[in-house]
Symmetry: C2
Subunit: 226 residues, 2 copies
């Protein structure tokens, strides 16, 4: 079973290739409103899932599963769950922010041709997983790396992705029939897009400002300005 | 404060650009042994941190900070913390796996010219954060998206990244002086690489196999084969 581990040449990409990677990183958006109704080709979806499956995972645990949702019935139930949670969420904000909150479109569950739930099976790989002995969250983090791989690949494919986080986890679990050991990490909406916001919507509308990077960087210890 | 949110044209990348994004995704590795001693240019490091800072974040919360560690003293303390935790970790595995476990090089803390801790400030953005009302983990997940952005950008720059997860969180917190609200999400080792493993090391040595993607994909509900 043990095999030679082969090293291959590696090094920086060409300038054009590097620019393409940064283009994906900088032009990726959380999409709620720009989905076109065009279906996603199976070949494209398979490329996106394969990219997600090649994310790093703790102890090579690969804790993820991919639930591809096209059923209108399932989408309608998810959408109703979102509406309930979103009404609760609105009430949690200070009164002066509630009108702006209500005006935001926060999901495209029904319009997006494909919904995708990326999960984390916390029991995969058995009782002890290499690298997860001292931080039990590491498996959840691996599934998030899969989300981000997929998100960037989707940008390159012209597919928009929106992450819906305003829904009760238990409701999501029940609608999708998830076993107890499985956590729904990300509920995503996917569809073709021909336009994207040039800046994050929450920045453009003045909900939050982008923080200056230099205020976030420390040298050697918290609080030491670099 | 409210501004027009501008839509720009978007769509699939050129074939060459798309291939570059996939190249980063497929050739990215968790690096423990291949670091060269060459220092990382400040300009390169700044590009990597800027890429991380452009990750998606729940409610545009940007919960991350970046602790750039070059101090040999700090690295030595982290390294000692790893050694202690790794000795504990080894004992958790069944006896037949312990020799293989001990033979694995799981970190390059001292050899890597730069260590980087990416954190999550759970108090950032106040008591209620848009999109984090129903899943309190969303802020941690945002910081993980920043890790994966940086990891892929680093691949394009010829910089290897290794994630060290075998260390007590409280020890990491103490060494780096993190406030109580701040979680160390990822402790990373960064350095130039000229060679990389062609497959994940844990796959090559037979620690774990890559799971067939088709077994991980379900249609509409857990357990429904696509």
């Amino acid at each position: 079973m043990q095999q030679e581990s082969t090293l291959g040449p590696a090094g920086p990409f060409s300038d054009e290739e590097r620019a393409a990677v940064y283009r994906a990183i900088y032009s990726r958006r959380d999409v709620r409103s720009q989905f076109t109704p065009a279906p996603i080709d199976d070949a494209v979806l398979e490329r996106l899932l394969t990219a997600a499956h090649h994310a790093p995972s703790v102890g090579f645990m690969q804790p993820w599963n991919f639930l591809v949702i096209r059923s209108e019935t399932v989408k309608a139930r998810i959408s109703a769950g979102f509406e309930r949670a979103n009404a609760e969420a609105r009430e949690m904000f200070p009164e002066e922010k509630r009108n702006l909150y209500s005006a935001l479109k926060l999901q495209g569950i029904v319009e997006a041709p494909v919904n995708l739930c990326i999960t984390c099976d916390r029991s995969r790989g058995g009782r002890v997983v290499l690298g997860r002995t001292h931080d039990l969250n590491m498996d959840l983090y691996s599934s998030v790396c899969a989300v981000q791989n997929l998100w960037l690949a989707a940008r390159a494919e012209g597919i928009g992705v929106g992450w819906v986080s305003i829904i009760e986890t238990d409701e999501l679990r029940e609608i999708l029939g998830l076993p107890e050991s499985v956590v729904p990490v990300a509920y995503l909406c996917l569809g073709h897009v021909t336009e994207l916001h040039e800046r994050p919507e929450l920045e453009s509308i003045g909900w939050q400002k982008r923080l200056p990077l230099e205020e976030l960087v420390f040298a050697d210890r918290w609080g030491n300005r670099a």
